[in-house]
């Protein structure tokens, strides 16, 4: 278990919406490495909560489907209530592999970073379609020009990140849906928090691609971020 090695309480947050097919495997593989796994069931209509609970996760349930950002925020607040030293955000759709958790935690363990982002573009992303790659490059450009996020951030929409307790308390992200990735990047890179990217492997399956973002979602994200400026 990682936390026994580093003497920190590490909690993994998995936001899930209708993920009953894969959530059990995700929870079990993460439970091997960390003591706590919190699944935030974001208003699923299937048995996601039951399966996650049986697999050993603590489960929180949103009565309505609010979006991944909202679920992560709920999970983060729960993790802080449980006195987490490090909070990890992961996707529950099978894209992320728990085996990358040690490398994600390593910079925090060494005390050189407060926030660690996993980057697909520093690691292997087998099966990443060129359309997705082009979309992410466009998002990266938008992040630089529109949001002032440094160009050295290679993955503009990474859902895999680790943060210390202090960082989690400091980063107050409000975007309920997919725009939370850019919002968190902006908040972190504009604060005095130390951040770093590490290479991670991402698996692209038909299921994860069908749940992933489309070109239209890119416009939605930009619009949500724009509205967020006015909706304080």
């Amino acid at each position: 278990m990682i936390q026994q090695g580093i003497g920190m309480k590490v909690i993994v947050i998995l936001p899930a919406y209708n993920e009953c097919r894969g959530i059990g495997t995700m929870v079990r593989s993460a439970c091997v490495l960390v003591e706590e796994v919190i699944v935030v069931d974001d208003g699923s209509q299937d048995e996601t909560a039951v399966v996650a609970n049986h697999a050993g996760a603590r489960v929180l349930q949103h009565r309505l489907n609010l979006g991944q950002g909202a679920a992560l925020r709920t999970g983060t607040e729960a993790a802080l209530q449980l006195d987490a030293d490090v909070v990890i955000h992961m996707d529950a759709d099978g894209q992320h592999d728990s085996s990358c958790l040690p490398s994600l935690l390593e910079p925090i363990q060494r005390g050189v970073a407060d926030v660690v982002f996993g980057s697909r573009f520093l690691g292997d992303a087998p099966g990443i379609p060129w359309t997705r790659r082009a979309l992410l490059e466009g998002a990266r450009l938008f992040n630089v020009l529109g949001l002032g996020i440094p160009r050295r951030v290679t993955d503009p929409q990474s859902g895999l990140r680790a943060m210390t307790r202090d960082a989690a308390l400091k980063i107050s992200f409000k975007q309920d849906r997919m725009a939370h990735c850019s919002e968190i990047l902006r908040l972190v890179t504009r604060s005095n928090l130390r951040w770093v990217e590490v290479p991670v492997s991402v698996r692209y399956t038909d299921e994860s691609l069908s749940k992933g973002q489309t070109s239209m979602d890119a416009f939605k994200i930009a619009w949500q971020l724009f509205l967020g400026v006015f909706a304080k």
Partner: protein, 122 residues
Amino acid sequence: MSGRLGLLPNAMLIQFVLLLILLVALSVTWKRSRQSVISRSEALVWSLVWIVAGAVILLPQTTTLVANFFGVGRGVDFILYGSVLALFLLVFKLFVALDQLERKLTELVRRDALKGFTDKHD
């Protein structure tokens, strides 16, 4: 040029209808003031708005003067551009209000999800 019914020129007909609407608005404004629904100063401000609108309807060339000041050729075009802008701002305000409402809903759902979380799992 005569109107469709041959009674009034086209321009006069629209002016007549708009002025009638403004007179109704003016009368309702002072009725509400008498009913103490709005204050006397509020009624005066609204009356001013209706009177200015009436002046623009009776003397449409005045809008051309304002339009020319802003670099727009015709007064009607200026009013149209202004209306589109006003509508855009109103719709945008609605979007922002909807976003704020969603955030309140999110907070409510979150509080509900976290209620007794630590107690339940201790």
